[in-house]
Symmetry: C2
Subunit: 249 residues, 2 copies
């Protein structure tokens, strides 16, 4: 059976302007891989309501899960919550449990839970809260969309809160064969292995160091035995062709 | 007049699996910002022909420029060239100038310009070559698509080769006002400034250090005077509200 699929949608003008470098796509990608959920695509989009609605709708239709990051704070430019709600035609309301968590979090601090901060307790009707162990203000799940904060440490704590609820699949087996030659010398072998093992994906990644170069061949698939056989056969063929090859992890 | 628009399309299974972390989106985003070209979105997609055709077509229709990275090497999984050609219904042919560059590059080395490596000289008919000062094998421009390598150092050298040919716009003015308080205390001021200066985008980015926190307010717009006035007014209003604020660069 095929693994569940997912998409990532990073929402934020600060990424598109180059001011902030995204760290969320790579981190979530690794987590999903470890859960046996196939990441089909990732997008970075602007803080514009119509834009968010359009992309969320598309990604929701095409994937089992969609993970968003960014745009759920208290300021005027935080419009992810209202946009995701609008994408599913539901209203946003002040969530009592979210309010309780904010009150608890700010109690005994100098920070006043003013009207603006209360906005972080506004959650689409019917959504499930996502815990935020770092700064209390929750994310939420609505249909197959998981809405998380943009700050990497907060997003990561939210993902770790929710990941046990995801239905994972088979964790892919990934083996790397290091070839001590350029990819142009082993490309025909890679193609042969790729054709022979249809369910094993064969990726080729050349690398260069001063005075040294080589090709990392990454074999990935859901059937551990097939991937292992493909790696062994690749190794043999590369050695037959006169180059060093090593079955690395 | 509005600035030209652009999209980035990173093509590569290794990014979606989390094995490799993308560094190209952030780098290109910064370059475009410095050229006055507005990055509207970025996508990371899989090495699948139909997927590449679909996304390239969409992004090409909606933007003045599209920059791709990844998938133009010599191996079987490098399918960006044929996919981009297919998106525009043109054929791929062995390009004589690209062949000349590869021959020149490999002359006097131990590397044989075999059939597989010659594949890197296959370019869509009607495309313009993009210079590759690092490893010779060129990228190409077809219609409004700029096809570049995935390895960051090579991609960067290609972008620097082509950037003078891009029609830029007004370089945005970006000013940061540092507020020594949480964003929940200044959100109403940010909203007021955002409403008052319609063409100035007001972004709010909270930050935390041990024992310290604050909000970086980033004002961006094409009219330098308006951005500057908005920053000054914001500073005054934040100080009036009883918090420290500094007009940083």
């Amino acid at each position: 059976m095929a693994n569940p699929t997912a998409a990532i949608c990073v929402i934020g003008d600060e990424i598109l302007s180059g001011r902030t470098k995204d760290k969320n796509i790579g981190w979530i990608a690794e987590q999903l891989n470890g859960l046996g959920i196939q990441l089909t695509q990732a997008r970075v989009i602007a803080d514009v309501k119509e834009t968010i609605i359009r992309h969320i709708t598309e990604l929701s239709d095409e994937n089992d899960y969609v993970f968003t990051s960014g745009g759920i704070g208290p300021t005027h430019d935080d419009i992810t919550t209202e946009s995701v709600a609008a994408a599913f035609n539901v209203k946003v309301e002040r969530n009592q449990e979210a309010m309780r968590r904010l009150e608890q979090h700010y109690k005994g601090t100098e920070i006043v839970l003013n009207e603006v901060r209360k906005k972080m307790a506004d959650i689409p009707v019917g959504a499930t809260l996502i815990d935020n162990p770092v700064s209390a203000a929750p994310g939420f799940q609505l249909e197959n969309i998981y809405v998380m904060a943009g700050v990497p440490s907060i997003m990561q704590s939210m993902f770790e809160s929710l990941s046990a609820s995801l239905k994972g699949g088979t964790i892919p087996t990934r083996l790397t064969v290091q070839c001590a030659t350029g990819e142009g010398n082993v490309a025909h072998i890679l193609e042969q292995i790729s054709n022979q093992y249809e369910t094993v994906s064969v990726g080729s990644y050349p690398w260069f160091k001063p005075g040294q170069f080589g090709t990392a061949v990454v074999l990935t698939g859901l059937d551990e035995n097939l991937v292992s056989n493909a790696a062994k056969e690749l190794c043999l063929l590369v050695k037959h062709a006169g180059f060093e090859a090593e079955d690395a992890v």
